[in-house]
């Protein structure tokens, strides 16, 4: 049986606490990985590894944390994403909440999309899609 959302949350709290050296009570749903929990780029790989183990799922490269988007000149104009870039990002991150970001899609604000809630949404979708 697939774990409940609360069970997923608790396990994600453990994963992020171990990976980032923070207390579990700091790992709130709204916390951003980089801004609030202090994650560095290399930590994202560690988080991916730990999530794979914790939930027995396989996370393909770029699926949870999209990469390469910013190197495409069609997707970036100055300090923000183009409409095409935003569309591409939304398509590649259906697990993220774009409500705030899409009003002003600044590249510098992209890290704010990576919240604990984003990870929980992603894990839930992967667990649901995994063969029983």
């Amino acid at each position: 049986m697939a774990p409940s959302r609360d069970e997923v949350f608790k396990q994600v709290q453990e994963v992020l606490s171990d990976a980032l050296g923070v207390d579990t009570d700091e790992v709130t749903l709204e916390a951003t990985l980089q801004g609030d929990l202090g994650a560095e780029s290399i930590d994202f790989l560690d988080i991916v590894f730990r999530l794979e183990k914790a939930f027995s799922i396989k996370i393909p490269k770029g699926e949870l944390f999209p990469d390469g988007l910013l190197s495409n000149p069609d997707y970036v104009a100055g300090d923000r994403l183009t409409a095409a870039g935003l569309a591409e990002l939304k398509a590649s991150m259906p697990h993220a909440d774009f409500a705030k970001f899409e009003a002003e899609p600044l590249v510098s604000k992209m890290p704010d999309l990576f919240t604990v809630n984003t990870i929980i949404n992603y894990v839930e979708s992967k667990v649901a899609a995994a063969p029983a």
Binding site: I42, L45, D46, F49
Partner: protein
Amino acid sequence: MRWFWIDTFVAFESGKRASAVKNVTLAEEYLHDHFPGFPVLPPPLMIEGMAQTAGILVGEARGFRDNVILAKVKSAQFDDYAGPGDQVRYDAVLETLDERAAVTRGTVYKNGQPIGRVELIFSNLPPADNALGLPAKNFVFTEPLMTLFRGVGSVAATGGIPGDEC
């Protein structure tokens, strides 16, 4: 690698674990400054010893195709000193490995007693991705190291790690 902080491997199990030792000697100049009258191996150098042990474990697991770069010291805790006359052993276990990165967990021993724990993250950088064009000497898997590594091949073939505590 320009500065070796391990003397030899005493066990090596490809893709799983490695164990290397360093014999600390007062002939090593830095000990006279760290500290005057109280010579001890600086913990950062024990982290480096673990990084060399674990980094070679990671590199060998992928056939030394990539440059393996220490990306992050996730945690390092030490409970005791090691000084001249002591043998330090680094036991490293490969926790996770893929084409991008590796995570290792290790235990540091002094004369067989555990004195520290070190978790490391390595990044695997294919030579083609060396965008900075850094010369080979900046990386670990240079020919001199390979020569040393081949020299202990008979030890590597024995497998198993003494103690198996880590």
